[in-house]
Subunit: 155 residues, 2 copies
Amino acid sequence: MDNVTTSTITEVKTSKSRYSACLLFSANALSRAITAIGDEEFGRFGLCYSHAYMLCEVVEQPGITPSELSGTLCLTPSTITRLVEKLEQKRLVRRESEGKKTLIYPTAEGEAIQPEIAQAWDRVGARYSQVLGETSVCQLTKQVFSAAKALGGGI
Amino acid sequence: MDNVTTSTITEVKTSKSRYSACLLFSANALSRAITAIGDEEFGRFGLCYSHAYMLCEVVEQPGITPSELSGTLCLTPSTITRLVEKLEQKRLVRRESEGKKTLIYPTAEGEAIQPEIAQAWDRVGARYSQVLGETSVCQLTKQVFSAAKALGGGI
DNA sequence: AATTTTTGTTTGCACATACAAATATCATTC
DNA sequence: GAATGATATTTGTATGTGCAAACAAAAATT
């Protein structure tokens, strides 16, 4: 029960499958690394990156619905509900029921901190670029974006 | 349902801050999309992708330690402990204490299902390639990998 | 007009993951 | 050789996320 297994494994290591393993692993590692930077910058507002992103969308489109946000942020409706709850709890947005829909509006405070959040985005971008180089960031973003869109299909 | 969702990202936007937002968002979206495919394939074994990846490493290097796995999988030691617990619970690996170290070995069953798992990796890879194209997968993997390494620095 | 189907949102539960603190062992220094 | 510091691992706690089910409201079908 030794040699057979061993040779199989060695084959596996050099075959295509390692690439797939690597993409899965790398994509998650990249996600964690980038999220860490984002959360570090947005932590000052007591937000994580997805809260910040969501708040920007709400400020940009007052009255946006959870399902629209779900499409924009590529997160499931249930996750959106949870994020909105957090933001509501921090008095940055408020909800209004209208029929079966829910409309989400920024509060005055939510609009007020939006410029600061935009600055935080810039700092995040600067940190990426510092490490990866500005051109790489653009290239990487495009590739990752199109791959995500192709694979995820949008929720 | 109308075109209220103007800011839905169908295209990488041009302002700098949008790029950073986009990279953060895209990286996470890619991660989720890819993880979904991985988990779907490994779900037959009752595993998620990281369990499967870890099992491969353990089979390949019997007696590997949590900290080594932490480096390989780019996950924190505490996460490794939790994953090992799950794998141990499924009787696929076992732990041995040796001083302050913990050595992780595959069980017979763990070794037995390894070839099936390798096949699952191949199926995952096939699904990526089908959507993205084989050359794109390799290119994307390399880029994402080096970016993750540069940003994360390895844990 | 009443019932069924579809659509939008929210809850219950589960999981992977991380951080911080606790624990256990090894290595160094006095 | 005892005390201090360094390293390895595990627990407590918290969080973002998703799936499936529940719920609510609108639309469609009868």
